[in-house]
């Protein structure tokens, strides 16, 4: 038995969510007294052996450039075949855009129980139980996996990257890649500097900002903190900001280390998308805004006065003192 980790990459770079999955899978392998092995489809611009520092001993790589873009059907077949050859095993994905496309297919091929949205290492003291978020972050469920093969898709930002030393042995995968079923026509980067789901800090604006022309200060604060920008649903619906910035129950669910909500009242649907954030800061002029109940820090005040002063303070903090 082994723990296999799917290594997700884009434009030659391994995604941060995948480094988390590698760290998680390696910790799980140590917990079970077995080895962690990566599966890499396509090519990356760095030496894949270096990923050994995240704890994987081997990386199975099918280095065909034809596999650089994800095709869920093709990927699932190669991954399932590789894992099945090793006997009963556990497969780890990040529960990101790639994992959501591929993990369910791999689970079906292996007749494996799947937990998607895992937030912690499995409890293996009595069976194999994985904790996941349910009800859009408002609760957790403990899921029992009793199948010989098991698949886990780990939520982004739920497990910290653990970097050590070591080099992985690269095992070439000789696969007859099935003909692609999906043609990737183009890939475009969103306007934001940092992908929302991978950001450690997110600065978010709501209707309290009154209009799209007032987003300059949100972007400046985000830029200073190396943060991504986000918004509430009414803001995206009014087209003040693009849809891909909408966080909440029906938008994107995020779990950054710091979520700064400016001019957002904190409707239950919005909270559902952000309540896994480690620290929540709320800036709102209404002291009755429900968001304050979910916040760790807050200022009751006018965003147009408070945010520029926050920007000033961050600038001062980032300037080396003389």
């Amino acid at each position: 038995m082994s723990v296999f980790i799917f290594i997700d990459h884009s434009e030659g770079h391994v995604k941060k969510a995948s480094l988390e999955a590698l760290s998680y899978g390696s910790a799980l392998a140590a917990q079970l007294g077995t080895t962690a092995e990566g599966i890499l489809l396509g090519t990356i611009s760095t030496n894949p052996a270096d990923l050994g520092k995240y704890g994987v001993k081997k990386i199975h790589q099918a280095a065909q450039p034809a596999l650089d873009h994800l095709d869920a059907q093709v990927y699932a077949k190669i991954i399932a075949d590789t894992v099945a050859a090793a006997g009963d095993s556990i497969v780890i994905f990040s529960n990101n855009s790639s994992g959501k496309a591929v993990a369910p297919r791999v689970a079906v091929r292996l007749k494996a129980g799947l937990v998607s949205g895992a937030i912690a290492l499995p409890d293996t003291s009595n069976g194999f139980i994985v904790k996941k978020t349910v009800f859009s972050g408002k609760a957790f469920a403990n899921i029992l996996l009793a199948t010989p093969f098991k698949v886990i898709a780990l939520n982004p930002n739920a497990y910290s990257v653990k970097e050590g030393t070591g080099s992985a042995e690269i095992v070439p995968l000789t696969v007859q890649a099935p003909a692609p079923t999906i043609k990737v026509v183009s890939v475009t980067a969103a306007s934001g500097e940092i992908p929302l789901t991978e950001a450690e800090i997110v600065v978010s604006g709501g209707r309290g900002l009154k209009g799209p022309e007032n987003w300059g200060m949100i972007e400046e604060l985000a830029h200073l903190l190396h943060a991504a920008t986000a918004c509430s649903r009414p803001v995206a619906d009014a087209h003040w900001r693009p849809h891909n910035e909408h966080v909440g129950q029906t938008g994107i669910a995020i779990a950054p280390n710091l979520y700064i909500a400016i001019g957002i009242s904190g409707a239950i649907q919005h909270l559902a998308g952000v309540n896994r954030s480690k620290v929540i800061v709320v800036i709102n002029k209404d002291p009755e805004a429900p968001f304050f109940k979910a916040a760790d820090y807050g200022i009751v005040g006018d965003a147009f006065e408070v945010v520029p002063k926050m920007i000033e303070a961050v600038k001062k903090l980032k300037t080396p003192s003389s």
């Binding site: 059907q73 403990n142 029906t250």
Partner: protein, 247 residues
């Protein structure tokens, strides 16, 4: 062309989340049940939009659930769709649900299966991919745009930090999210006609779920907000830096 839209029954987005029977069951009494928003607002409405352009398209809805799913199925039919199938079983786990839907899809010969990107209760984002695998069809997850020209679908999907434009031939399975369509409210004509649209109840095929829920937990309560005076945002930045250590 035949489109199958998968609809799930979920608690309303504002429902109180609580558990009973020693934290093994969701406390569903008194809860308002709705069509999973991703299924309704995006998958179903997009199918209707396609049919408005090409009236020869036939839309079937499918739900895996017992009789208490009927109200949300009727509501979905009121928004649009020609007929509905309910597989008469509890929705045990994603694999069980996907197996039932895949079976119905095989029998119905659908060119396109649409789902929401996930349900707002179990957040598994799994059923669409599982159906695709069971049917051995291509799968595009997390679509934000979906267009059809003849037999070719052009789909924009969300990826980390951007989007990807894909092309694929039917038959196809796609999971939909915001951007694919705009939410609609059923009109009176739709509500009236939904009453007489066929709702076929079929018995499930034999299969076993692959996972089971041992227990639920609620997150620990927050300690309470620490308020900083509005005239001193610098203090907030200091606390975030020195106390919370988030930057």
């Amino acid at each position: 062309m035949k489109i199958l839209v998968c609809i799930s029954k979920t608690p309303d987005t504002t429902a109180k989340i609580a558990f009973i029977s020693n934290n093994t069951k969701f406390a569903g009494d008194g809860v308002q049940w709705i069509i999973n928003p991703y299924d309704e607002w995006y998958a179903l409405v997009r199918a209707i939009e396609l049919k408005e352009k090409d009236p020869s398209i036939v839309i079937h809805l499918i739900n895996v659930g017992v009789a208490d799913s009927d109200p949300i199925i009727r509501k979905a039919l009121a928004i649009g769709g020609d007929e509905a199938i309910r597989v008469n079983a509890d929705s045990h786990d994603p694999y069980y649900v996907a197996t039932q839907i895949a079976e119905a899809a095989k029998q119905g010969g659908y060119d396109l299966v649409l789902t929401g990107k996930e349900t707002i209760d179990y957040n598994s984002s799994s059923v669409g991919g599982m159906i695709a695998e069971l049917l051995d069809r291509p799968y595009i997850a997390l679509a934000t745009k979906f267009d059809l020209a003849g037999n070719t679908a052009t789909v924009i999907r969300e990826i980390e930090g951007g989007e990807e434009t894909d092309e694929a031939s039917l038959p196809l399975v796609v999971s939909c999210q915001k951007g694919v369509a705009e939410q609609r409210i059923p009109n009176m004509k739709g509500i009236m006609s939904a009453r007489t649209k066929p709702l076929k109840v079929v018995e499930p095929v034999a299969t076993e779920p692959l996972t089971s829920i041992v227990s639920f937990e609620l997150p620990p309560a927050k300690a309470g907000v620490k308020l900083v005076p509005a005239d001193n945002p610098a203090e907030l930045i200091r606390l975030l830096h020195e106390e919370a250590r988030v930057f």
